[in-house]
């Protein structure tokens, strides 16, 4: 990779600081074919710099000292340098941007200061002398026909712009890229740059340019980071207002602070573009009501008047960021104040992948890491969660590595990190559940039920293109019904484990509360969260107790029927609230790579289209009492009867249940399956447990295996929990 293997990089000598010299051993110089003072381009991890090659004074090989006089902006660490000889012609012209200490004094000596230096396009030259001009940014070299060259006495130096050093230091913050918010980023940039760059055009069109923008999104999606990034990208000054900083104790102090911040922004705007960011604007500008105090209302009024007072010629843009748009004062959300509202939703699959690529860019990844797979597994994660995940994975790798050695981060580290990092939107939610993951094989029998469940849950994830081709939409809801103890809950668990969906489960106990309207609100909130983390599964166990039937006159005005109506609208309402909007996966980030990568991206796109919904899985053993509106297609459209196990199924269940019990060779599971008519899955599990306990009781604690007679004894004690009438009833409702 680099041609400086085994060479140690040392800091440059004090005498060499601003000489553009790169000291190396004579052997390395002759190996690279360099003469004294020949220009080289040194590429390091974060950038590059142009130097002239000189031998070290002590002629020692194996060391490298680089003077970064002419380097890419923001270069500070020199790791893995790669030296490339550079062809540098004498330049005829160079256009530069100069950074001066005091913009009022301009002097004409740039040319003499640059003379004799090798410059490269886009590099920043630190002049290092005590003059007005401190830094020079090289914009184009020979009108763009060359990349680098030597400035001589005959070179024409054009100064394109003069800016203050303060302005440049702002630009120097690390230039990381943001993943997944390209479209929002572009529209934000456009909005900030248009009024600042083309004021004349806007004036001729008679437009007053928009000056306010409200960013809305759940916590952790990167609202603040986005604004910082955009400001830095277009070289705008950023003035930040935090709610608590503004609030003062004396009456009128808060308003004064706010005015001061606006004045500061106005002063910055004199010099160049400026962005005023009001973070967590809901704390600064809450809804004015009777109950809120006078000081608060005064602060809101002050903010409103300040926003109105900004003239259109003043070049600054106000951006507010919030995660509770409903708490804002409505007066703030009108054109003229915040003209535009941009909603940043929870990232979708493709966005997650691009976020992961950008957070893992500087991380050494081992080749087995599949970021696509990680993106699939992390539904409901926002940007902050994903960066926490990658950090955790890197920490795992560090823990694993031997002391001092560095190990690339591999897939297993990511899997381990996934266990620690949970999506932040689920931290405070109601229905998020942790459950023991079980596989389909741990449920005996019920093959066709499993198939139906897989069809509605797993297939949209695995074979999206087939479903799209056939025009099959994903089912909205699945109702599992059948006698108790026949593995309905286990089936749902297995389905949730096999697909990487977010899994919410809510029971009647969590739902009902003594306050009027609270239950309905909880349910609506659950669905809002489930939509934010889509694709997700909402599991409503014992749904008959939660939502009665409206046909039943006794229940017609009870809480149950209210909950039912909420559930019906959530299942099949007109649309979702505007705040929950998420990006349409229309614009896809360009992926480098071959055809394989293309098909992969296509598949992910399809998945995104198919899986943006919430799947409701309900379980009940009394399907007959459910409201008929709930059972129509479009709501709970898949009704799956989970039957009591037949002989084969019982045998399968017994095999699963006795997998960890040491059986005597005389045990015949076929016989047991024959004898356990009307036993449910739970009964069979109990039978195996009972038999094992009997063996322990009768043969002492040293017993090594369970013999058949204990099963027979247990069978005599236990009776089946299902009754023929119950089956009849279920069978009846199955037909209906």
């Amino acid at each position: 990779m680099t041609n400086t293997e085994g060479v140690k990089v040392l800091p440059a000598d004090a005498a060499d600081t601003h000489t553009q010299r790169c000291r190396m051993g004579p052997a390395l110089m002759s190996r690279l074919g360099l003469r004294l003072g020949s220009p080289v381009l040194i590429r390091v991890l974060q950038g590059a710099c142009v130097c002239t090659a000189w031998p070290r004074r002590d002629l020692a090989d194996g060391f490298l000292q680089i003077s970064t006089q002419c380097s890419t902006p923001g270069l500070d660490t020199l790791i893995n340098p790669h030296i490339k000889p550079l062809k540098c012609p004498k330049l005829t012209s160079v256009s530069v941007k100069v950074f001066v200490r005091n913009p009022k004094h301009t002097s004409e000596s740039v040319h003499e200061l640059l003379e004799g230096l090798y410059v490269h396009e886009g590099h920043l030259v630190n002049l290092g002398v005590d003059t007005e001009i401190r830094f020079v940014l090289v914009e184009t070299v020979n009108s763009g026909s060359q990349k680098a060259g030597l400035v001589t006495a005959r070179t024409r130096v054009d100064v394109v712009a003069i800016q203050s050093v303060k302005h440049m230091e702002r630009r120097k913050v690390s230039g990381s890229t943001l993943g997944g918010v390209e479209d929002v980023c572009a529209s934000l940039k456009e909005m900030i740059t248009f009024p600042l760059r083309y004021p004349a055009v806007l004036r001729t069109l008679g437009l007053s340019c928009p000056r306010g923008l409200l960013l809305i999104g759940p916590p952790g999606v990167g609202k603040t980071l986005l604004v910082r990034h955009v400001a830095q990208d277009i070289g705008a000054a950023l003035v930040t207002v935090n709610g608590p900083d503004v609030t003062g104790s004396r009456p009128g102090e808060s308003e004064e602070n706010l005015r001061r911040v606006f004045d500061q922004a106005r002063a910055e705007a004199e010099e160049g573009p400026c962005v005023l960011l009001i973070d967590e604007i809901d704390s600064l500008c809450p809804r004015r009501t009777e109950s809120s105090g006078a000081p608060e209302n005064r602060l809101v009024a002050q903010l409103l008047t300040l926003m109105d007072a900004i003239g259109s010629r003043e070049g600054f843009v106000i951006i507010g960021a919030t995660n509770q748009p409903d708490a804002l004062d409505p007066a703030l959300r009108r054109p003229g104040r915040f003209d535009r509202e941009v909603i940043i939703g929870v990232p979708s699959l493709l966005q997650r992948r691009s976020i992961l690529t950008s957070v893992c860019r500087e991380m050494p990844l081992s080749p087995d890491v599949d970021l696509n797979a990680v993106a699939e597994m992390t539904c409901g994660f926002v940007g902050a969660d994903l960066s926490a995940l990658s950090r955790e994975a890197a920490l795992q790798a560090m823990r694993h590595a031997q002391a001092g050695a560095s190990e690339p981060v591999s897939m297993q580290h990511f899997m381990r990190a996934l266990r620690h990092v949970r999506p932040s939107c689920l931290r405070s939610s109601i229905g998020a559940t942790d459950f023991k993951r079980i596989s389909w094989e741990e449920i005996g029998g019920l093959e066709d039920v499993k198939l139906k469940l897989k069809q509605s849950i797993e297939w949209p994830m695995r074979f999206p293109e087939a479903l799209v081709r056939m025009g099959v939409p994903r089912p909205r809801g699945v109702l599992l019904y059948g006698p108790p103890g026949c593995a309905k809950t286990s089936l749902v668990k297995a389905a949730a484990s096999s697909s990487h969906c977010t899994f919410f489960s809510i029971s009647a106990a969590q739902l009902f509360s003594p306050y009027v309207g609270d239950s309905e609100k909880t349910l609506a909130q659950l669905f809002a969260q489930a939509r934010a983390c889509a694709p997700s599964i909402v599991f409503l166990d014992e749904i008959d107790s939660m939502v009665g039937s409206r046909a039943d006159s006794a229940l017609s005005h009870s809480v149950q029927s209210q909950v039912l109506s909420v559930l019906l609208t959530e299942l099949d309402g007109v649309g979702v609230r505007a705040v929950e909007r998420r990006s349409e996966g229309g614009r896809v980030a360009q992926v480098e790579g071959g055809e394989q990568e293309d098909t992969r991206t296509r598949q992910m796109e399809l998945q995104e289209v198919c899986n943006k919904d919430v799947l409701i899985v309900a379980a009940t053993n009394r399907a007959d009492v459910l409201d008929s509106a709930l059972l129509r297609p479009g709501r709970l459209d898949q009704m799956i009867y989970v039957p009591p196990p037949d002989r084969e199924a019982r045998l399968a269940v017994l095999h699963v249940c006795t997998a960890r019990v040491p059986l005597h060779p005389d045990v015949c599971l076929q016989d047991l399956a024959d004898l356990t008519e009307l036993f449910s899955g739970a009964d069979l599990e109990n039978l195996c447990k009972e038999a094992a306990l009997l063996a322990l009781r009768e043969e002492g604690l040293g017993v090594s295996c369970v013999r058949h007679e204990f099963f027979m004894k247990a069978l005599r004690i236990l009776s089946p929990s299902l009754s023929p009438e119950q089956l009849q009833q279920n069978f009846h409702s199955c037909l209906y």
Binding site: P26, S30, R35, L36, G37, P55, L59, S109
Partner: protein, 202 residues
């Protein structure tokens, strides 16, 4: 063949150091001439400042007509003449710098023309009396850069002097003195000392 190139390069280098030594003397003389001129400018600035504040009508001198204007004119003339002399000295400094720069670029060009016969090993070999080619080229480059930057800085300082800003004029002598970097001068002196044996050899 290589040895002939090396010896002619040595000749060039010797000539360069001769030029450097001669022009260094010129430079220092010119710089020494500047010193009193700048302190004169500083003094005049103080006088101008005083003139601006004094109320001549309250002094016994009020009977002289147009005294204020006359004094101001005289002082401005003094500034102009001092600046004119400084400009002459700056020209001398410029000439010294140009001579050094020309010579240094000539020796670099000579080296570049002959790089195919001079490998790195030949360039870095040094002996008790003769420093290596690379060392000498480096010293020459350093000296050239030192004089060039000094000239730019000093000229910029003079360009900022305007009669309207008396504070800048008052502080000019101090700032002029602070531009003198002993480190840069020492490096030129060091270089000249280190080549003294080399210069004497034939």
């Amino acid at each position: 063949m290589s040895s002939s190139v090396v010896s002619s390069l040595h000749q060039e280098l010797k000539q360069s150091f001769e030029v450097l030594r001669a022009n260094r003397a010129v430079w220092e003389r010119a710089l020494a001439d500047c010193e009193p001129l700048l302190s004169a400018i500083g003094n005049i600035a103080v006088q101008l400042q005083a003139l601006r504040h004094v109320q001549l009508a309250n002094t016994p001198l009020h009977s002289f007509p147009g005294l204020h204007e006359r004094l101001h004119y005289k002082l401005s003339l003094a500034v102009d003449s001092a600046l004119g002399k400084l400009a002459e000295n700056m020209d001398a400094l410029q000439r010294a710098r140009d001579a050094i720069g020309r010579q240094v670029s000539a020796v670099f060009q000579f080296y570049e023309r002959n790089t195919h016969t001079l490998d790195i090993a030949a360039c870095v070999s040094r002996s008790a009396v003769c420093p290596s080619v690379s060392d000498m080229l480096e010293w020459l480059q350093d000296s050239e850069r030192h004089y060039r930057l000094q000239l730019v800085q000093r000229r910029t300082l003079l360009q900022t002097l305007t009669p309207s800003d008396l504070v800048l004029m008052e502080t000019a002598p101090g700032r002029w003195a602070s531009l003198h970097t002993s480190a840069g001068e020492e490096r030129v002196t060091d270089a000249l000392c280190q080549v003294s044996f080399f210069m004497e050899t034939e």
